[in-house]
Symmetry: D2
Subunit: 429 residues, 4 copies
Amino acid sequence: MTWDFSTEPEFEAKLEWMRDFVRDEVYPLEVLDADEAGFMRIVRSLQAEVKRQQLWATHLPPELGGQGYGQVKLGLMHEIEGASVWAPIVFGNQAPDSGNSEILAHFGTPAQKERWLHPLLEGRLRSAFSMTEPDNAGSDPTLLSTAAVLKGNEWVINGHKWFTSNGMIADFLIAMVVTDPDAGPYERASMIIVPADAAGLRKVRNIPTMAGEHERFGYGHAEILYEDVRVPADNLLGKRGAGFLIAQARLGPGRIHHCMRWLGQARRAFDMLCERALQREAFGKKLASHETVQNWIADSAAEMQAARLMTLHAAWIIDTQGAAAARREISLIKFFGAKVLHDVIDRAIQVHGSLGYSADLPLEEMYRHARAARMYDGPDEVHRVSVARQILAGYQAPEGMWPREHVPTRREAAQLKFAALLEAATTDV
Amino acid sequence: MTWDFSTEPEFEAKLEWMRDFVRDEVYPLEVLDADEAGFMRIVRSLQAEVKRQQLWATHLPPELGGQGYGQVKLGLMHEIEGASVWAPIVFGNQAPDSGNSEILAHFGTPAQKERWLHPLLEGRLRSAFSMTEPDNAGSDPTLLSTAAVLKGNEWVINGHKWFTSNGMIADFLIAMVVTDPDAGPYERASMIIVPADAAGLRKVRNIPTMAGEHERFGYGHAEILYEDVRVPADNLLGKRGAGFLIAQARLGPGRIHHCMRWLGQARRAFDMLCERALQREAFGKKLASHETVQNWIADSAAEMQAARLMTLHAAWIIDTQGAAAARREISLIKFFGAKVLHDVIDRAIQVHGSLGYSADLPLEEMYRHARAARMYDGPDEVHRVSVARQILAGYQAPEGMWPREHVPTRREAAQLKFAALLEAATTDV
Amino acid sequence: MTWDFSTEPEFEAKLEWMRDFVRDEVYPLEVLDADEAGFMRIVRSLQAEVKRQQLWATHLPPELGGQGYGQVKLGLMHEIEGASVWAPIVFGNQAPDSGNSEILAHFGTPAQKERWLHPLLEGRLRSAFSMTEPDNAGSDPTLLSTAAVLKGNEWVINGHKWFTSNGMIADFLIAMVVTDPDAGPYERASMIIVPADAAGLRKVRNIPTMAGEHERFGYGHAEILYEDVRVPADNLLGKRGAGFLIAQARLGPGRIHHCMRWLGQARRAFDMLCERALQREAFGKKLASHETVQNWIADSAAEMQAARLMTLHAAWIIDTQGAAAARREISLIKFFGAKVLHDVIDRAIQVHGSLGYSADLPLEEMYRHARAARMYDGPDEVHRVSVARQILAGYQAPEGMWPREHVPTRREAAQLKFAALLEAATTDV
Amino acid sequence: MTWDFSTEPEFEAKLEWMRDFVRDEVYPLEVLDADEAGFMRIVRSLQAEVKRQQLWATHLPPELGGQGYGQVKLGLMHEIEGASVWAPIVFGNQAPDSGNSEILAHFGTPAQKERWLHPLLEGRLRSAFSMTEPDNAGSDPTLLSTAAVLKGNEWVINGHKWFTSNGMIADFLIAMVVTDPDAGPYERASMIIVPADAAGLRKVRNIPTMAGEHERFGYGHAEILYEDVRVPADNLLGKRGAGFLIAQARLGPGRIHHCMRWLGQARRAFDMLCERALQREAFGKKLASHETVQNWIADSAAEMQAARLMTLHAAWIIDTQGAAAARREISLIKFFGAKVLHDVIDRAIQVHGSLGYSADLPLEEMYRHARAARMYDGPDEVHRVSVARQILAGYQAPEGMWPREHVPTRREAAQLKFAALLEAATTDV
């Protein structure tokens, strides 16, 4: 039967294991007060368990250790990982390394793979992704200004980036730079691999944000200055001018993963909401018996269900028709899902009152992180416009929907059609 | 692969035929200015075509002429029918006859089927469904007050109903009445078949509503008085006290059909929205180039997609696990879908300006009908509460989520766990 | 004390009288099933009572019988009139005659006043206002296409209008026409008085709309064709090219009246909501004890209060600084108020269930009328953009809000300022 | 004239001074990286300037140094102070000292004033307010559980509080405790002054919250254990059992101040929104030219205007009719204003993109603080229910609004009334 929403039993068993594992082993990491060494020791023991379960870095192609799962299955896994900020690192999926390893795998030369990809996968190198610029709206590709000029056998890079994920601790950065300023808006940029110790590369700071202290051990979003940074011409990743193409390839399925992780976050908040509602009493009855709380639960359930089915549907289109065919669906879930994420966490906080506002529970951190979801991977506003344009491309302005020349009413106009129709009907029956 | 959102090609061909047929042959009925005889002549010719395509009354069990389609397929068909108010009558699915024929088929005795069901299916009788009461909130079964008392071999019925669909023109009514006032809240009522010409049955009027003139030819929602109406004891439909059970069986899949029809309505409004946006200009550019309109298009697309997937998901649960398993999902789509329906039509009207407000286009009628969707089949508010209760039943109040006895912070508490964890990790790796 | 929200006692007494009068004498008109003659006989007896109270046509200047009330007082009166669709006619304020008499009073020549204004005020003539065109977005003045060309001593008018208020029954129309196509966008149009019996003027029909049957006795919104209609050059109203200026003068205070009437409508719906909530029971308690209904009441109260204070504030600006100074405030209340109107009526309907949907109560008619409020007098979308532009004109792009040259953090930058500040503080205290 | 929204010129001059002073002298405090001593040295120099302007602690009665301003004027001042988190301390209005000094002034004995109030006003003591409990919903007075028992000449206090403002640094706490457990729900509690060094008083910690690092120098919301804390019987503040009464007196005008401060916050965010919109470009034009941003500006302007007028209206009721008369209005602005605050800041962040999410701008901190506004001073949900109850108390269930006995339609029923009316009209005219 088509329209089948079921999950294969053997895969469902894996998901079940993941759910237990994340709840029992990964949640505690959130409140672990250890130094980096102690923290990483535990993380590595959990990673080892994940590898034993053959669930490590499943987004990678099989030749690099992935399981060949399509986006639907990856999505269902990301949903579970999303419940905790530390799960992606435990499962080998943490941004930006996961995305970087994907594009290295797909677009890298054998030498690049040897030099950067394999050490990255083995955890011996860490990577950053350097695209956003403080001076320019990131959603508009024509505004990108960091430039690389080919001088002899070297790219000379100048520019100013920020929100470069893991920029302070990375061993290399993948930088999006303008190499062909006179090309069409989507062919101006290229990706170039930049070693973190290149001369002229200045790591200014980790930018303090609403996300706050979570970004410990140097993780975070860095401000980076490129001042006459020189890298070998061979560090070009993929073709010259293919920067946006690669970025899209990186971001498309990545958005599925984001949305599914958001759903995992939302589900965890929702669970807390329901449990608290059953625990707490006000004005003579449990919060769970107050209609306002019941409305929140019902609306949250509907919205999470909506976002979930839409995301899995988009994943299914990628799996069956390719990422390009899913462009509209991916934009839809981007802005729809980001709102669901916020709203569910917001209600969970309100049900918890001052406890929810406090850092004694993870909700307030989830709330702060959720605010970013409406911006990264393109602000919601840009996705809305993009969706509308794609949809409108499938329509044409009507002719004669409302014929004006003779000022007939629609009813009058229709009579003409019905003259024949009535006649036919009379003879027909 | 599981999670399959595709449609079988041969069934897709049927849907394609339906789409063309509804647009080309059924839409014109909306503006046909004929008397009842002329109107019905055309309708019958269209019905004949539907029967030739084996798409007539597909909700019925195969032995009564249905195709054995499950709810997913019926849903996809209802989506197409929903685009026009006249499509259900053309496809043999019009309320309340469709629901009435279903419960007669499932719960009727052979004699009842002979006397009422077959003539109904053949179009020789028309039926009404008489449940709502003006004095009582319909959503609360304990408030039902129309009563039937068994005297000798007859039920004697007294009470006051309204919004009895097709009550003025029906040949018989299926009335929901209290037969066992002392039973539990869901076992008090029964369904009884009442001939329209029974003495004491007073057809007061068709109630004028926001739906307006569309309800022509006597169709409409009637106010009915039962004053010592006597019907044979054999007219009991199903078991005594099974009224709510039967009503649920009638309403459950019916809600799927409603929601899918709403989506058909919404899709038609959305098409008009997009076409108008490409046609009309204001302030130097097409409406389609105004961001506000683009936002409406994107939000409408997301919401329709959400409602559609949720409804088909609920249908799939009915098909694979039975209607009872889908109770929560059906409530979700009831209130989620009713809002989507309204919002999309509302935006389509706004894009059309005064033309959208005028009756020259079908939008204003769709808008008026859409307002009822938040009330019938249970007001949205009742479904929200019902969903919340079902969900909460799956949770327990936590113990020790935030252990109060020792006033530890959550972070402190977690350290205890990590002592062992750190130790294990140290030895483990 | 400034910031005084009180009402003068003697004026409050008049308002009190109006409230009683509208409820007791005008509400019944809504359900009066009389022919036009009978209906108007009653209306005239009510109008006589209004005149005795010196409350007739109070929007007019004192020399034409008004009381010299400013917009705040007129607003408070319109709030009361708004509760019933028939109140404006009883109080001599009905559109479009009220607006037409105002512009004739302000811009008409003595001869025009003699010929059109005085008979209008005496009820011997009826007027129409003919601006909207089916082919063009009414909010964009550059699109107006109905044209008048001066040939000899006559204007020759050609064009197509619709939603011409009372166009079918009017004795004369005030038409907005392009007289100077090459002038600036706001100087292209003029207003011309057109007798209804002018040759070439074709009254096509009253346009059926969502507003429905209320528009009885020929009242309504007409479609009008101007085909070589000739009127004397003297029929120009005001200066050539002043059409938009006059329209603004007409619409500005008129929007205050609209918004206050909306509040009267909303208040009536709100009263019904509260009363029904206290009357009706569901699930073991009054609707008034259900939190969902309580939330609706609280939100409605807040929104009505907001809209009311904003509208009276705008009226106060007109009274103290002139209509031009209130342009932004008037746009604000236009879109804010229209939403409040809809939302309150919508909740009132929902609380009444099927009764609210039925025409047994006035709510469903109020709902249909409310839908138009988001379109007439300029669609909400245009007012939003207009407000934003006015506001943005008061700002400048910042320089150095976030100085980029040296990539300092905001905190670093501030230290410079504080060096001096700390020093000063040390010596200062 | 009544309905006067103007501000007295001499007071407007003071406000003007405040606006300049806050922007030029107080904003910089937000980014001052000084130790407490350095920080307080600057603060004191600013406070001295405020005192010179006679704007210090204006909420106090004149005998304690206030200016005798009513709530309208105080509100206008708080609006300006609200723009920066540090302004209240500079103007002598910082919570919880301001509220504590007010209740000491109103309810304290001469000895209490001597001992606690005067040192507090002189800045020699700091105070805390200790009401919220972790185990009980704060909005429900019947749940308060911290208890004080009178043993001999001492109160013995046991219980668990949290979110005790400034609990870690205070010299004394005003604690809300149950003294009369068997009294009516609003007469159970009393307020008692507790010296911070009382034996048995355990300051557990400052609770980490979403508000984050701002709460420096020990400011913050503390968790406090009362374990057999003994204080003299004379430390009772006001009458025994008057705890809730005093809390209301403290919170009522305090909510006006909160709401006005929120508006100051919102206004600052709005200014940043507009300025950024004019500065930043995307897709070929300034953000200010994008309709989505224009819609945000227009909606923000409308909502801030609404909240502002509502708050000043509530203040005016307090000034003219007393705080009790303003109970409903105060609840309205509580929940209405908290949403406006959030929504405006949220839009300002979105316009700034990642810069808005970063701590380089104050927006992200404002956003985190705004989230608490929906909880403190009673969660919005409780205020909504309270408003609804107050409103419903003014209504009665209708009789005969829809007379059922004879099943007439409303139209039929009205005809009876009109028989006489028509007759009267005939003779009357």
